[in-house]
Symmetry: C2
Subunit: 164 residues, 2 copies
């Protein structure tokens, strides 16, 4: 567990465009096109506000942003949410910050009457820690789409049902 206080921030500022890019790049697991998608969600939120459907949680320690998550309600559903991104600065991994961020997302989604949270990742070896993380956080594998991202690279969908 982190030994210094963590504070959450929910407002999104123009400077978060670069912050999110640096965080996502620092993890070392995402391709350039994926990094740009993460940045685009920040830009969408800045341009449209809450109607963008993208909600953010930033984890800050000692005045520095050390991780973030992005989630939002899935259109035309009652209570289904996507967890679009969760990333912790590589230098700060292994301290429970990912679990803290996902727990805070779950709390906020529950407060928005969320029933389910869905999250997707790849079955490639480099994402094995990611998959282990979701299972550890009580997400269950809900589907596998073979060759989805590319030949030999399946998409795995995890789901957590929130208990009211």
């Amino acid at each position: 567990m982190p030994d210094r206080p963590i504070t959450f921030r929910y407002e999104v500022a123009p400077t978060d465009t670069d912050l999110v890019r640096e965080l996502v790049v620092s993890t070392g697991v995402f391709a350039a096109a994926e990094v740009e998608v993460a940045v685009e969600l920040v830009q969408e939120r800045l341009a449209k506000g809450e109607p963008s459907g993208y909600y953010f949680v930033f984890a800050e320690r000692d005045g520095r942003t050390v991780g973030y998550a992005c989630y939002g309600p899935i259109a035309c559903t009652v209570g289904s949410f996507d967890l679009y991104w969760i990333a912790v600065d590589r230098a700060c991994q292994g301290q429970g910050l990912g679990r803290l961020l996902i727990a805070e997302c779950e709390r906020l989604i529950g407060a928005q009457a969320g029933r389910h949270i869905y999250v997707e990742t790849s079955n490639r070896p480099q994402y094995a820690p990611t998959r282990g993380f979701y299972l550890h956080c009580d997400y269950s594998q809900a589907a596998v789409f073979d060759d989805f991202y590319a030949p030999g690279d399946a998409k795995v969908v995890y789901c957590k049902r929130l208990t009211p």
Copy 2:
């Protein structure tokens, strides 16, 4: 099969906003919020052009638009496409226009090096003809997400692999 000539149109015009709304409403199966999503995709395409990622096929007969489909590549994948919408005017159903539209989408997606097409629908009784349509067009059920749209209303995902 339709006995009068069908022509396809791929350009999107501002008048398609209302056309798509009328087509989708005419099917009688979509809720108001879903209709608005269909219209938003047209608006996104009009605002951003091809970078929107939304491609359209309109089927026209006797100068009238009798059906349409909307598809696009899934970001950060190699060759996976979503079929977002397919609708045929209620008065023109049962004439093979849906099969014609989906076949034209498959041809265009194949020409864009697409490998897979995904399409989602509900398992509610009112969508039984829709599910039968996808199976009839050689789509396979790839996943079911229970209670996704609402309690008791699952999402069913179908997939078709295109053969090069």
